[in-house]
């Protein structure tokens, strides 16, 4: 059996206690929630910890709070709970769709929303056991010096594989971070960096506590959509995803729109050029096609996951177009099998 290396395990009941442990334990401490990302990574020994602090015993982190305005989703609410939450399904159906598309039912019973947002970036040169990585002399992201996806590149190209992140970025979600010395609320989008190694703008001791969804992104104001490409009807991570959120003016033109891609950069990738192009325009076939081409241009699908990278580039265009079309109430234009919608 592939087993975990030894570590000290702490399961505080209160957030302040967790924050204090993290502050006190230094670099060897890590937070765990559902464990569906950290445990495999530790078993393969590309993430390490001497102390693991579980957040699952802290009741306040698991709550879903719908006051009718901003929706607050606790970071340790499981993906199954988020997908099944009445508030999410009713007010943010595109988010429910994105979360339902994650992995498989047992994984969604374990994995949490916060965990999905902090998901380690992925790469088929990295998500491997230690002996395998030794065979390639390791990689830049862990213990090595070269990014084997692009050996002459100075950076790591591991990609952001979260499904909740692009959708929540599109909807304009914010996150609450808390450490022993205070808390802050930042737009989720600003949590991410386009760097495969340091992919989060977050201090190690900061705990992601909650996701805040603005009322203006609810379905009565905003048209959201999520499209995801993966090989199989379950289990697989996205190899391309496209999330759109659009606000229309009274005349039916785009007032504001966010288009965010998943799995084609080291962070959820906002396609600002497309958003600017579409502002003030009607989302007709021509506008969608133009915007989708801009999405393809912005994306950098690398050969570090399933499917041929070049084809994935074309799929960025197709899936971005599908997301935009759906937001505009048009037929998506593609017919992939087993779409989570």
């Amino acid at each position: 059996m592939l087993r975990l290396p030894p570590f000290d395990f702490r399961a505080p009941r209160r957030l302040a206690e967790a924050a204090a442990i993290l502050a006190g334990e230094g670099d060897g401490a890590r937070v765990v929630a559902g464990g569906t990302d950290l445990w495999p990574n530790m078993k393969r020994r590309h993430q390490h910890a001497t102390t693991v602090v579980s957040l699952m015993g802290i009741p306040e982190l698991a709550a879903v709070d719908d006051g009718g305005g901003e929706l607050r989703l606790g970071a340790t609410a499981t993906l199954a709970q988020v997908a099944a939450s009445d508030a999410v399904r009713r007010r943010y159906p595109a988010l429910a769709c994105a979360v339902r598309s994650i992995s498989s039912p047992p994984l969604r019973n374990m994995g949490t929303l916060g965990g999905n947002l902090c998901l380690d970036t992925r790469c088929t040169y990295y998500n491997q056991t230690e002996p395998w990585r030794r065979a390639i002399d390791f990689c830049m992201k862990e213990a090595g010096t070269v990014c084997w996806v692009a050996p002459s590149s100075p950076r790591c190209w591991a990609h952001a594989a979260s499904d909740a992140a692009p959708m929540l970025c599109a909807l304009g979600a914010r996150v609450l971070l808390r450490a022993h010395d205070g808390e802050r609320v930042v737009p989720l989008e600003e949590l991410y960096r386009d760097d495969g190694i340091d992919y989060l703008n977050k201090r190690r001791e900061e705990i992601l506590c909650a996701v805040l969804l603005p009322a203006e992104a609810a379905v009565e104001h905003c048209a959201g959509s999520f499209w995801k490409l993966r090989r199989r009807g379950a289990i697989d991570f996205a190899v391309v995803s496209a999330a759109a959120a659009a606000w229309f003016d009274a005349g039916g033109a785009v007032e504001r729109l966010r288009l965010v891609l998943g799995a084609v950069a080291s962070r959820p990738l906002r396609v600002v050029a497309a958003e600017e192009l579409l502002a003030g325009r009607r989302l007709d076939e021509e506008a969608v096609a133009e915007a989708a081409r801009l999405a393809r241009k912005a994306a950098t699908p690398m050969d570090n996951t399933d499917f041929q990278a070049q084809w994935r580039g074309l799929m960025v265009e197709r899936y971005a177009a599908a997301a935009l079309r759906q937001a505009a109430g048009l037929e998506p234009g593609i017919r992939p099998p087993h779409h989570p919608l």
């Binding site: 592939l2 088929t124 084997w148 499917f307």
Partner: protein
């Protein structure tokens, strides 16, 4: 028949649904210690030095072994005993076992492996068969057919050129079938337990306990009588557990050294390194057709990427050619094959062993021929079926041939005549067929003993114990064995107790490979049971004053057919017989009929009979993305007779599943890093996440037709079902995609980008096709010319001695045989 042919609950069903089945890793006797292996991190290298001292000092470590501790080579085929339990001198692929560490716990063993340092001198690597034939040096092995060629075959049956001269149309195709692996959900595990007086018992997840037994005796240099191998129920095999593995030898050796049970359980990644899966095969197929679709001649070339060791590879090479002749009339046939060594985990037998690749080529080729000739693909096939009981151009003797009925069933079921070629753009139907062995005609090592044996003990309480070396790998072989015995003796399954797959207690059965168990163990069981019935009938007849011939065995009784109330209970009959004869036991054994081929190489391909399948597959292709969904599969399988139709259906549906996996997504893919930077050549994705095995949501509807036409060579008429139904699936998918969008994808797996590439070519007015272009220049060696039966041949090659290789050799052993 009371039981046979009915859907009874499988005899191991209850244990499997209650968690009571004991798989190899479920066994942990007191004092068990655990082994982990250090595996090579280089694809090809000399081992300069191994530093074991730090590992030896790690907590809990009991013993450390290297290749020098187990210097005797082994291999599943006597012609390629090229493996060591742990690498000696050299490593040939990333993942090859180099050092074994035993410790008190698995975690301690694992930690200690991290302390082992191996000093390697890297050698140039070979990543593909094409590269291997172009790169004779450095050699991966110092045996074989020269350079990095393991095996060459060139056989010509009949006057090929004359055949092509008779053709109205000659078609040529290049295609590629990529490698894939078995992925049994159970990872291999083995437990060795030392017994009294220097004996050892190995419990292992193996499909071939008899061959493991022989290899252990050879490598450990122990008399075979001191070794017992028990095959635990396999948590899936599919061919992946039919080699002898180094880890099995390592634990046996350590158990004898440490005097305590020693266990190893592989991780998922290690299972990918064991591999022995589908060979990647490049193929070139050239066929002459008359206007009516009949074939005048066919020339097939195959190039196999064998990986780093022999495994079953010599047989695999022959199998990429041998079964082309058993489906349709093929009067003249030439087969050239070559297997190359590469620095990757060894390929071997996976469900269909060597035949799905050329079957893909042939069935896609026939689809193209039908279009070229303006014929319906189903009609073309139906018109030119191989006749039952025929001897083929390559000297295979056929049994019953249910292929025509299979094709008719799927054609009717799918509405083919109404719908083929007429569905809206994006939707399509594809038809393909296949055939498979019902057991390889020859054993892996030369002998004239039975290939399967059964012993039956009769208890005076009416219980019947059946002993047989056969191995349950999920296919239902235990149920076949029990049902045949119960049927013959007229008792219930609950009165039959099985003892199987134990080389210490059961007569030899060669193993669960080549779809041999139902036919061979089934025939042995039938013989043993009939012998038992004769003894009981004799005694019961005497007691009842009836002619034994008039007695019926049914419902747990033995009675007069004319006066059913006049009889004995089965237990009373046993008591009568035991009183007269003493302790009761019977045996049965099975030796396949001798095949008519006498040429060198004729040993691969013969089988007592062949199963047949046909499938129609419906697909929907999205031309915007190249993504596609298989909507429905209609499949018919000629099983001769179902011992248990429900279990037969399960084998058919499982084969469809595995065939779809191979056709759509499964790939044993490798990565080589830029060679100026690194010598690495690694498995791209040795995980269940990245090796794409279809999920519940990826399976289409399946309509299954069982075609029953009992074959007298099978037990109660039964033929195989475990492997054959996989064969038509990949070509049926390719043919359906053509019907849907007009694109020819001449390779599997069929990825969406390939469809888009073909459609892009179509848009430019080019050939709408994706697949390899030219077959590489390959030297297949001298060609053996064998006149066909039609030409008046006698099964020998021209210029071959009358002795041939099939007769008992005076000394030594012939070069090739098996299955």
């Amino acid at each position: 028949m009371k039981l046979v042919g009915t859907p009874f609950r499988r005899v191991d069903g209850r244990a499997k649904v209650t968690g009571q089945t004991r798989f190899a890793d479920d066994l942990t006797p007191p004092r068990t210690c655990f082994v982990r292996l250090v595996r090579s991190t280089l694809p090809h290298a000399r081992i300069r030095a191994i530093d074991l001292e730090p590992a030896r000092r790690m907590p809990g470590v009991l013993a450390v072994l290297t290749g020098d501790d187990l210097p005797i080579p082994f291999g599943i085929l006597p012609v390629s005993e090229d493996e060591h339990a742990l690498a000696r001198g050299k490593v040939r692929y990333v993942g090859e076992p180099v050092v074994a560490v035993a410790a008190l716990t698995e975690e301690q063993a694992d930690e200690a492996t991290r302390a082992v340092r191996v000093d390697y001198e890297p050698l140039a690597t070979i990543a593909s068969a094409e590269e291997a034939i172009a790169t004779p040096e450095p050699r991966i092995h110092d045996y074989g057919a020269g350079g990095n060629v393991h095996k060459r075959v060139s056989l010509e049956f009949g006057d090929l050129e004359a055949g092509f001269a008779e053709a109205d149309v000659i078609l040529e195709d290049d295609c590629f079938f990529d490698g894939n692996t078995h992925l049994p959900i159970e990872q291999h595990a083995a437990l060795a337990v030392p017994e009294d007086e220097g004996r050892v018992t190995l419990y292992s997840s193996t499909q071939t306990p008899h061959y493991v037994h022989r290899a252990l005796a050879k490598v450990l240099q122990l008399p075979p009588a001191r070794i017992r191998v028990v095959a635990c129920p396999n948590g899936g095999g599919f061919g992946g557990k039919s080699d002898v593995f180094g880890h099995e030898i390592v634990v046996a050796r350590l158990a004898l050294e440490l005097g305590r049970p020693v266990k190893i359980t592989l991780t998922r990644e290690e299972v990918f390194y064991c591999h022995r899966g589908r060979h990647p095969v490049r193929m070139h197929l050239k066929t002459g057709f008359r206007k009516d679709g009949s074939i005048t001649a066919q020339h097939l070339k195959t190039l196999l990427d064998g990986g780093a060791y022999g495994s079953y590879g010599v047989a695999s090479t022959f199998y990429t050619g041998a079964l082309q002749t058993v489906t349709y009339n093929l009067p003249r046939y030439r087969f050239d094959g070559l297997r190359a060594f590469t620095n990757k985990p060894p390929c071997g037998p996976k469900r269909g062993h060597g035949t799905p690749q050329p079957r893909f080529a042939f069935e896609v080729h026939l689809d193209k021929a039908a279009h070229a000739l303006g014929l319906d693909p189903a009609a073309l096939r139906l018109r030119h079926l191989a006749p039952a009981e025929a001897v083929t151009a390559n000297w295979l003797k056929l049994g019953t041939v249910g292929l025509g009925r299979c094709i008719e069933a799927v054609v009717e079921g799918s509405g083919w005549r109404r719908r083929y070629g007429k569905l809206p753009y994006g939707r399509g139907l594809g038809l393909a067929c296949g055939a498979y062995l019902c057991g390889a005609g020859l054993p892996i090592y030369w002998n004239h003993m039975p290939q399967s044996g059964v012993q039956i003990l009769l208890d005076r309480g009416g219980g019947v114990a059946v002993y047989c070396g056969q191995t349950e790998i999920g296919q239902g072989s235990d149920s076949v064995l029990a049902a045949i015995v119960a049927e013959v003796l007229g008792i219930g399954l609950e009165d039959v107790r099985l003892c199987v797959a134990d080389t210490g207690l059961t007569p030899v059965d060669l193993g669960s490979y080549s779809s041999r168990v139902t036919l061979m163990a089934g025939n042995a069981a039938l013989q043993a049971a009939e012998r038992a019935r004769a003894i009981l009938a004799e005694a019961a007849g005497e007691r009842l004053g009836r002619d034994p011939q008039s007695l019926v065995f049914a419902g747990g009784r033995v009675f007069d057919a004319a006066e059913p109330e006049h009889g004995l209970t089965f237990a009373q009959a046993v008591i009568e017989a035991e009183t007269r004869n003493g302790t009761l036991a019977t045996t049965g054994s099975y030796v396949p009929p001798r095949a008519p081929g006498r040429y060198k190489g004729a040993g691969v391909g013969p089988s007592p009979t062949y199963s047949y399948s046909a499938a129609v597959l419906e697909v929907e292709v999205d031309p915007a993305t190249g993504l596609y969904e298989v909507l429905h599969v209609w499949i018919a399988h000629d099983v001769g007779r179902s011992i248990n139709p429900t279990l037969v259906l399960g084998q058919v549906e499982g084969s469809v599943y595995m065939g779809l996996g191979e056709a759509m997504m499964e790939e044993q893919a490798f990565r080589r890093l830029p060679r100026r930077l690194s010598p690495a050549l690694v498995h791209k994705m040795p995980s269940v996440l990245e090796y794409k095995s279809p999920t519940f949501r990826d399976m289409p509807e399946i309509t299954t037709y069982l075609i029953e036409d009992p074959d007298p060579r099978g037990p109660l008429g039964a033929k195989e079902v475990g492997q054959g139904p996989l064969l038509p699936i990949p070509p049926a998918l390719a043919n359906a995609i053509f019907d849907a969008v007009g694109a020819r994808i001449d390779q599997v797996p069929i990825h969406p980008h390939m469809i888009l590439r073909a459609l892009a070519a179509q848009a430019k007015g080019e050939e709408p096709r994706c697949g390899p272009r030219a077959f590489p220049a390959v030297d297949f060696g001298p060609t053996l010319r064998v006149p066909t039966p039609e030409e008046g041949g006698d099964g020998r090659a021209l210029g071959e001695d009358r002795g041939g290789t099939m007769s008992r050799p005076a000394s030594g052993r012939p070069a090739v045989r098996h299955g």
